[in-house]
């Protein structure tokens, strides 16, 4: 009598899988390729940098990752689930819980305190107020902003604002953080500090996808994509 073999574990799907993903615009009867058919796999815990000259399609790729635009063709699987064809509510839910976004210009809401800013994604996730504020404070503490909960973004430096933005991106503990030139508005030293934070996040298991112009940041990445004229290629 033989021992039954344990059931085979199904392989974990990659975090992101793009197949033939394409974005085109029709301008005056001419088809403009913002992103040509792209195949890409991003695994859990990767640090992916996307580089390329201005207008090459970097931001288009990031916006497709962030579900801020719909692809013209191809499929986008997020944790094995096709997400590019979801309706608005489902898309919003994915953005809310699976994706954290960090912008070049921080995009903090100036009329809210930094704690309230950090809590915004949690409001849409339906987290109770007390838990939300507790987590928001913990995140701000983590990035050295303890005691500044009631400050407005206008009272903070650029580096501090970007740290608030990163804290906000982590609010719902999403598996992937998208960063669009997060150091673009910062001086070199502050930029390095912010990159240090991303490095730390990466080490803690987060998947980072970062658009950057700075080739020096390539060293932080485990995976790199270069885009020219809408053609993405892994380097």
């Amino acid at each position: 009598m033989t021992q039954p073999s344990p059931p085979a574990l199904s392989p974990t799907p990659p975090l992101i899988e793009l197949t033939g993903l394409e974005k085109t615009y029709a301008v005056g009867g001419t088809l403009i390729y913002a992103l040509r058919a792209t195949d890409l796999i991003v695994r859990h815990g990767a640090f992916l940098t996307v580089m390329g000259p201005s207008g090459s399609g970097k931001s288009t790729l990031l916006n497709l990752f962030g579900l801020l635009m719909r692809p013209t063709a191809g499929t986008y699987l997020l944790e094995g689930r096709a997400v590019s064809g979801l309706n608005d509510d489902a898309t919003s839910a994915v953005r809310c819980k699976m994706i954290g976004m960090v912008f070049q210009s921080f995009n903090l809401l100036s009329h809210l305190t930094i704690l309230e800013n950090v809590c915004v994604p949690m409001q849409y996730a339906g987290i109770p107020r007390a838990a939300m504020r507790q987590r928001g404070k913990a995140l701000l503490d983590r990035f050295g902003l303890d005691g500044r909960y009631g400050s407005r973004p206008t009272q903070l430096s650029g580096g501090q604002c970007q740290r608030v933005a990163i804290a906000r991106a982590l609010a719902n503990d999403p598996p992937v953080i998208l960063a669009d030139e997060p150091t673009g508005n910062l001086d070199e030293q502050t930029g390095l500090e912010v990159m240090g934070i991303f490095q730390e996040l990466h080490r803690s298991g987060k998947t980072i996808i970062m658009v950057t112009h700075n080739p020096a940041y390539r060293k932080y990445a485990t995976q790199a994509v270069s885009i020219h004229d809408g053609r993405a290629s892994e380097t």
Partner: protein, 424 residues
């Protein structure tokens, strides 16, 4: 986003531009204030009119003798004798023909001065029958009081019943019961104290609370069957100054009043009478009230339309200014409906605040109007703010917020997240 979070978000957004938010509500504030104030004054007027009408007795028909122009007087040698008004013949005809009339109560003005010390007063003395108390909607004030009885008339007793206001003026704080009132050199003993709670008047003329009533028979025996007043060779002959007709039921009033008018037109050669029908006045007051309500509603609609357009403008400007915020919120997980509710809630909160401030201002305006109108010491406007009018005002504010906030909020919700994020 739950309601609490929504409220916090909306509050933060509105307080961001507090002055602008308050200015945005100005149209609503003034609109609601105007509505609340006018409704209060209208309601006060309505209540006053109804009180006056009802104090005359809703099931009564009141005939009043009216002196016609002197040109119609009958001339005899060098003097004038003018006979006019309701006659004994009229009373007898009504008694015999009008089957729906339950009671007929004649009232005759005695036309004799009533003195307070050496000074004559404006207190009126009337002669009437025991049923007067009931038809005039008066009540006895003191448990020792009684009204005129048939026996008083039979034995020609010089007794009288005084109204509360007249009693205060004649006797001050003294107990009026048992006191004497001198009317035309005859002393009358006060046997009762009466009051009309509505402060009504006989046929809209003599204030019931400022009246002295005596038995009709006593007055007739003292001063004759008709009242004659002489001045410069002129005599006036009036059988009865007023005639109360109490109908058997309210439904019979319109028909009886119509028949009465037809009879009087045929029986009198001149219009020396007036027919007062409180029931008709009440109907008329209600019609007037309906018209007033329609006018008020129109004014309210126009002012709220203007206020609502103001709110819509401000909300559209707000949304344009906050396009990037909308993009950020969408990027962070807000659904279209979250954005819609957020801006709709802002609009409703703005109009509700406007409604609340407007209601307060309206109440203050109504109170001020009442106070100013009474400055001369005379009875002026009466403003009555009903809870219904406040509920309506606030409900209308909310509805305005929803009506005029939906389009901007929908527009905000439809913004493409990426386009909104790129908005400068």
């Amino acid at each position: 986003m739950n309601l609490l979070e929504m409220s916090v978000t909306v509050y933060a957004s509105l307080t961001r531009h507090l002055v602008r938010s308050l200015l945005a509500t100005l149209g609503i504030v003034l609109g609601i204030a105007a509505v609340v104030a006018m409704l209060a004054i209208g309601e006060g007027g309505r209540q006053e009119a109804l009180r006056q009408i009802e104090s005359q007795g809703i099931d009564n028909i009141i005939l009043r003798s009216v002196k016609p122009a002197e040109g119609n007087a009958q001339q005899t040698t060098r003097s004038y004798t003018q006979r006019y008004g309701i006659t004994q013949r009229d009373v007898e005809h009504i008694e015999n023909v009008f089957e729906n009339v339950r009671l007929i109560v004649p009232v005759m003005e005695v036309r004799r001065e009533i003195y307070l010390g050496q000074t004559s007063t404006d207190i009126k003395a009337v002669a009437t029958t025991p049923a007067f108390l009931k038809v005039s909607r008066c009540r006895l004030v003191d448990s020792r009081s009684r009204f005129l009885t048939p026996t008083d008339g039979k034995i020609l007793d010089p007794v009288c019943v005084v109204g509360t206001k007249a009693a205060r003026r004649l006797f001050g704080h003294r107990d009026p019961l048992g006191q004497a009132v001198v009317i035309g050199n005859v002393s009358f003993r006060v046997v009762g104290l009466m009051e009309n709670p509505g402060g009504g008047r006989i046929g809209g003329q003599f204030e019931l609370n400022n009246l002295v009533c005596m038995p009709l028979e006593t007055a007739t025996s003292l001063w004759g069957g008709i009242t004659i007043q002489m001045r410069r060779g002129m005599a006036e002959k009036v059988d009865y100054d007023f005639l109360y007709l109490a109908a058997k039921n309210i439904d019979a009033i319109p028909g009886t009043a119509g028949r009465l008018r037809t009879y009087l037109r045929s029986a009198h050669t001149q219009v020396d009478y007036e027919v007062q029908v409180p029931y008709e006045l009440l109907q008329s007051a209600r019609r007037t009230q309906r018209i007033f309500t329609v006018v008020m509603t129109s004014i309210a609609a126009i002012s709220l339309l203007v206020g609502g357009i103001g709110i819509m403008n401000i909300m559209l400007a707000n949304i344009f200014e906050r396009t990037r915020e909308i993009g950020v919120r969408r990027a962070l997980g807000a659904r279209k409906r979250d954005i819609l509710w957020q801006f709709l809630a802002e609009s409703v909160l703005l109009t509700s605040i406007g409604g609340g401030l407007g209601a307060g201002l309206g109440i203050a305006t109504a109170a001020a109007a009442e106070m100013i109108s009474r400055m001369g010491g005379e009875a002026g406007l009466k403003a009555v703010v009903t809870s219904e009018s406040l509920v309506v005002a606030l409900a209308v504010s909310v509805i305005t917020g929803i009506s005029f906030g939906t389009h901007p909020a929908w527009k905000a919700a439809q913004l493409d997240p990426l386009t909104a994020l790129r908005h400068e």
